[in-house]
């Protein structure tokens, strides 16, 4: 092969390698925007209209479950926590939260199941079940308008960093990292849809693609499959670490569950 052609190839490979290894640029705090700002105006209007937002149907179901007696104790969530609007205000904004007994953070779904098992003596609800999603979105909805406020302290920092490592890691057969799309190329189009920053302020979301409500874990697992990586199982500590990192990354942004997304 002629030297000039070899040289050109070498330059190309170096350029690609540099691009791949360049550290993902964190989004400056003041440039962060809700994922709602990347959807169509119609979808945004759907989200903001309480009668048009299909996620609100799950919030209704969650309200029913909140007041339903369950388990051997025959108690409802309301029996201990009272009216959710007061009792759960601000709670979802702090999750995932560190659990001292487990020595690691848990997300809202896990916390609900821990309460069901520990306090209600009721069976855990399966991940991504209609019931668990309904309770989760009902609780998350009570934090609407409030700023994301997960704890950043000696206990949580190692898990935030573990989540960050996953976010920045190249994975799957496509060798893509979350950061490459959501830190480096947010706002640009991918197959006709704008890439959002991936701020999880609206979860659980009603996703038009799913035609139903779903969790952040479901969304992340979908992305992992899309880059041809083996997705973590529901409830895996890696997923909770990533959730924690994403919420930390969105600190101070406004909670808006249930969001509507394409």
């Amino acid at each position: 092969m002629p030297a000039a052609q070899l040289a050109r190839i070498a330059v190309l490979i170096t350029a690609l390698a540099c691009a791949a290894m360049a550290a993902a640029a964190e989004i400056p705090l003041d440039q962060r925007r809700s994922d709602s700002s990347f959807v169509s105006p119609d979808t945004r209007a759907m989200q903001n209209d309480g009668t048009a937002n299909p996620g609100m149907l799950a919030v209704l179901d969650g309200e029913t479950l909140w007041n339903e007696k369950a388990g051997e104790t025959h108690k409802s969530c309301a029996d201990c926590h009272g009216d959710a609007a007061a009792g759960m205000k601000g709670v979802a904004a702090r999750y995932p939260a560190f659990d001292a007994q487990l020595g690691r953070p848990v997300d809202l779904e896990q916390r609900i199941n821990m309460s069901r098992a520990g306090d209600q003596k009721a069976a855990a609800l399966p991940f991504e079940s209609k019931e668990l999603l309904a309770l989760t979105v009902y609780i998350a909805h009570q934090s609407n308008g409030l700023p994301v406020a997960v704890a950043e302290d000696a206990q949580t920092t190692p898990f935030i960093e573990a989540g960050r490592a996953i976010f920045e890691r190249h994975q799957g057969q496509l060798g893509l990292s979350c950061a490459q799309c959501h830190d480096d190329n947010w706002g640009k189009e991918l197959a006709g849809n704008p890439i959002p920053q991936a701020e999880p302020t609206g979860y659980p979301i009603y996703r038009l693609e799913w035609q139903e409500i779903g969790s952040l874990q479901r969304r992340v697992r979908g992305c992992m499959s899309a880059v041809r990586a083996e997705p973590y199982d529901y409830g895996a500590p890696e997923l909770v670490n990533l959730e924690l990192f994403l919420m930390w990354r969105a600190r101070g942004m406004t909670m808006e569950a249930p969001a509507v997304r394409p």
Binding site: D49, T51, A52, P54, L57, L60, D61, Q211, E212
Partner: protein, 107 residues
Amino acid sequence: MIGRALIHVPATAKRGDVIEIKTLVSHIMETGYRIGVTGQPIPRDIIDDFVCTYNGEEVFRATFYPAVAANPFISFFTVATENGTLAFSWTDQQGATRVQTAQIKVE
């Protein structure tokens, strides 16, 4: 199964006003064209009839086909004629019906 519906009707209106009503009902609207995990199409299961009555008189009716999106949303208008009850009923292809009502005060 027809789930619950969210309904928005203004609580009060002036006689003769044209008011907007919005409804959103929980239903999968399974088209019958999706292939399930077995490799067979999932059977069709849709709401096909929606009726709104105002003090018993029909003021709006819609026939839904599988092309209506899941969790059917429909908004429409009606003239505020008198105090009373707006009744909304959704019927699926098996004939099961769900009815919900809303009150309106017309001055």
